[in-house]
């Protein structure tokens, strides 16, 4: 450009109109976390300053993603292209209600984890880089939610993956290294599959912009051609791996219980949902025709995932591994929504994703508090926590109800939507699997509550005697830092349970945005789209 003697008319390829400052909200979540993460990385020796700096940037992240959601709801889908190159040539960030909602919820969860981590992550963990990695993880998560380009989605996946590796081995315990090897290998294979599918997709359409592909697919005469079917199957396998769906779920229970509890909380909340989000994006927005022949496969996988998750949870006595299986069961519900594919089902899946992000994070945080109170994660060694703190027992019960999908908490409404959609669409098996899985989850969570809270003391305590367990050598909980995030998340769960209209409308709008992508296409290509 500088020094080029030939004058080329660039107005056809470049954005020439000035960009409003509000549109910068599109890149703000990724940008803020990237700046904050790199600042924390430079200051990693300063363990006193790091939490403050990290939390300041996380607050900024929440504010900017809230602003982004408001902006999207007021102005419809918005697009910004990097470097001013018009799509489909430039990399576009396109934000619709679905992406903005998930970004906001993810940011809130990350902020809660940042606050919770003040207590549970000690000086060593901070020096190893908890806050930088948390912020960079959010860069990847937000980028994945907001991007409008398939290859860019791959890059954001890698960003969040490399930060998650860093978080997973924070502290370098033996058990962490073991878990990280399995997590690392399987996720890397998953991203390679994603890359293969993306390469083939580019080979077919010659473009990577999601909106552009969606348009070209709908113009294509024969949508069920072999190559597209291959691409669709590869995408499904790749994202199922990311989301820990049934046949490829084994990395999750092998690794999620190994790191610091707050890191498990963030992972359980966010990572798998990014996989589900990508699945919705690819199958509902980009390749909607492929859902016709993939729906049965996805539905079968959903049923198996629902049952594996719930049965696995029943078979565990280690609290964190039990919760890991519940993450998997939740993924099954969302996959069921994708398999049904109607407006109601996709809305249910989105609502369920929001609910699952919040409730799984809160449950892992509660497990951390239980460890501090009872000195163990093993159900055999826990007991008498009700006597220790009745309020906390009540809070745990709320979370247990929510994750099982019982009213009046946030898990109930998305399940109602999903089951109704399943029966309405003639896929009664899916609805039945969701209900059975919910029932088994209730059993698993009920057992946790009975053993850890309700009975008098750990195994071997005679009936009727109450032994108030003291934190067996574990560090004492200090201050409000671990409680505040749990209260915030539980409050959200109760609020979504009692006042579901707001969230329900938001998810219906999000589902409409991907099912009827006219707004999405217009935002990318201008009015003629």
């Amino acid at each position: 450009m500088a020094g080029s003697s030939v004058s080329v008319d660039l107005t056809q390829a470049m954005v020439t109109a000035p960009v409003a400052a509000a549109d910068w909200l599109i890149v703000a979540p990724s940008l803020i976390t990237m700046l904050g993460g790199s600042l924390c990385l430079m200051l990693r020796k300063n363990t006193q300053l790091q939490p403050k700096l990290g939390i300041v940037f996380l607050v900024l992240l929440v504010l900017s993603s809230a602003g982004l959601l408001v902006h999207v709801l007021n102005h419809g889908v918005i697009t910004m292209v990097m470097g001013g190159w018009l799509p489909p040539f430039g990399i576009a960030f396109t934000v619709d209600p679905l992406g903005a909602t998930l970004t906001l919820v993810g940011s809130i969860v990350a902020l809660c984890a940042g606050i919770y981590g003040v207590v549970t992550v000690d000086g060593t963990g901070r020096r190893y880089g908890f806050y930088p990695f948390l912020l960079l993880l959010m860069t990847g998560v937000c980028g994945a939610f907001l991007t409008g380009d398939v290859f860019n989605l791959y890059v954001w996946f890698e960003v969040l993956l490399i930060s998650s590796y860093g978080m997973l081995i924070l502290g370098n315990d033996r058990i962490q290294l073991d878990g990280a090897v399995k997590y690392g290998v399987l996720n890397l294979v998953g991203t390679n599959l994603f890359l293969i599918a993306t390469g083939l997709l580019y080979g077919i359409f010659g473009t990577l912009n999601m909106a552009d592909i969606a348009m070209k697919v709908s113009e294509l005469g024969n949508p069920a051609s072999g190559t597209i079917a291959t691409v669709a199957a590869l995408y499904f396998l790749a994202f199922a791996m990311k989301a820990a769906a049934f046949p490829v779920n084994f990395w999750l229970p092998a690794s999620y219980h190994t790191p610091n509890i707050v890191i498990s909380a963030v992972f359980a909340g966010l990572l798998t949902k990014v996989g589900v989000y990508a699945l919705i994006r690819i199958f509902v927005l980009i390749l909607p025709e492929s859902l016709d022949y993939m729906a049965d496969v996805i539905g079968l996988v959903a049923i198996l995932t629902l049952l594996t998750g719930a049965l696995g949870a029943l078979a565990q006595s280690e609290l964190r591994r039990l919760l890991g299986y519940l993450v998997i069961a939740g993924i099954g519900s969302m996959l069921a929504g994708v398999a049904i594919g109607s407006n109601l089902a996709i809305s249910g899946a989105i609502f369920y994703a929001v609910h699952s992000i919040i409730v799984m994070t809160a449950l892992y945080m509660a497990a951390g508090v239980m460890f501090y109170m009872g000195g163990s994660y093993d159900l055999r060694r826990l007991g008498g926590l009700y006597q220790r703190s009745a309020g906390f027992a009540g809070l745990f019960l709320v979370l247990a109800f929510a994750v099982s999908g019982l009213p009046p908490f946030s898990g109930f409404w998305p399940k109602v939507m999903l089951v109704e959609a399943a029966f309405g669409d003639g896929r009664a098996w899916l609805g039945a699997a969701i209900l059975v899985s919910g029932f088994l989850t209730t059993l698993a969570m009920g057992r946790v509550w009975i053993y850890a809270f309700w009975r008098g003391g750990p195994e071997g305590t005679p009936d009727g005697t109450g032994v108030a367990v003291s934190g067996g050598g574990a560090a004492q909980l200090g201050g409000a830092a671990p409680w505040l995030p749990m209260f915030v998340l539980t409050a959200l769960i109760v609020y979504f349970g009692l006042q579901p209209e707001w969230m329900m409308n938001l998810s219906i709008e999000g589902a409409g945005g991907v099912l009827e992508p006219r707004g999405y296409l217009q935002s990318v290509f201008g009015e003629q789209g």
């Binding site: 500088a2 020094g3 430079m42 470097g83």
Partner: protein, 139 residues
């Protein structure tokens, strides 16, 4: 590995490689080269220096921790994209500043800052991985 020949030549070799990596970084805008490959060359210079003279002396020579270097690179890379905010252009639109000193045209641009950022990220990240591997080898 620590023969006298290698130990004598490694500092010079590393210095030359770092110099060459900066050359590759700067020519990268219009010709083959750039931040990533330059950073790789610099990181391998660090690795050679580490094999010859020990990891401790590399860390002393770098002054800053490799991860801190990577963080700084990421920071200026992100800042380079933000500058276009002030000209109401989309994120990462390149901004140019062209000086004329006598007859020489010097073009400074945000892509250059971004490339330097990439260079530092690669030096920091790959350097710290290489040093970690070498450190284990010695004990």
């Amino acid at each position: 590995m620590r023969t006298i020949i290698f130990r004598t030549i490694a500092p010079y070799l590393a210095a030359l490689m770092v110099l060459f990596s900066i050359f590759v970084l700067l020519r990268g805008h219009n010709e083959p080269g750039g931040g990533f490959i330059g950073g790789l060359i610099a990181a391998s210079a660090l690795a050679i220096f580490g094999i010859a003279c020990g990891v401790a002396s590399v860390r002393r020579a770098m002054v800053f921790h490799p991860m801190g270097v990577a963080g700084f690179g990421l920071f200026i890379g992100a800042l380079a994209g933000i500058l276009s905010f002030f000209t109401s252009q989309p994120f990462m639109t390149s901004q140019w500043l062209i000086f004329h000193i006598q007859d020489v045209e010097i073009a400074l641009s945000t892509p250059l800052i971004f490339d330097i950022g990439v260079y530092l990220v690669v030096v920091g990240a790959i350097g710290s991985i290489a040093l970690a591997l070498e450190e284990r080898e010695s004990d």
